[in-house]
Symmetry: C2
Subunit: 115 residues, 2 copies
Amino acid sequence: MIIETMKNDAAVKLLSALAHTSRLAVFRMLVQKGPEGIPAGEIAEKLKMAPNALSFHLKELSHAGLVRSRPEGRFVIYSPDFRAMNGLLGYLTENCCAGSSKAPACTPTTQCEEC
Amino acid sequence: MIIETMKNDAAVKLLSALAHTSRLAVFRMLVQKGPEGIPAGEIAEKLKMAPNALSFHLKELSHAGLVRSRPEGRFVIYSPDFRAMNGLLGYLTENCCAGSSKAPACTPTTQCEEC
DNA sequence: TCATCGTTTCAATGATCATTGAAGCATCAA
DNA sequence: TTGATGCTTCAATGATCATTGAAACGATGA
């Protein structure tokens, strides 16, 4: 293998975090709810996941930078972090088409305003 | 876990295929080269991968629908399939932002013309 | 036909990941 | 303080994945 750039490794990290049915479902739910976030228990209940399993997957998403958490009383509220996802979308778009003059263009013209 | 749609499973499949340093590097190289494609041996040489390891990863990418192959003499030429990647980008974009009115919009306005 | 090249397939080992159950920690109410 | 709640961490098992080396296959050229 050739030496990979940091950018590639970062992309692999994000892809790995999302490449799991449970984690993708969790992230989708967080995105749908928006910045206000959801307590862990509510996610577990709605997705019918064991609390410890959810905690494990949330930690993975958190390590990848896809979600943030904040304590609120005895609840822990999770919310999506759109910056990482936007970075990933940009990377994939660039490496799907824009990186090569041979390939058709498909560059998104707008990005999350939050990021 | 709630029951996932086909769409989600398809996204996980594509994400899993790309969530590997070697496979992401291979796919990037194919995208850069464009539709004309590259023989397997050339990919292995440039990425300094063992031929059998490369073959394994190419099969994974192929199963995910990200690459196509065609025999040419005793070479096997691999080329990218932009449809799958565009579908994934669309899915991620929609589930990153557009799926929720709470989140900022970041929908791409253009897509690969090939697809 | 025979030897060679490019590629794929197979089997085996080691590593990584997902899941489960139990325990731990902090917060809140009585 | 005592008990209950919400969540996280830990350890152990089973499953899946990556890698390696050897072998096999089809196409080509002598």
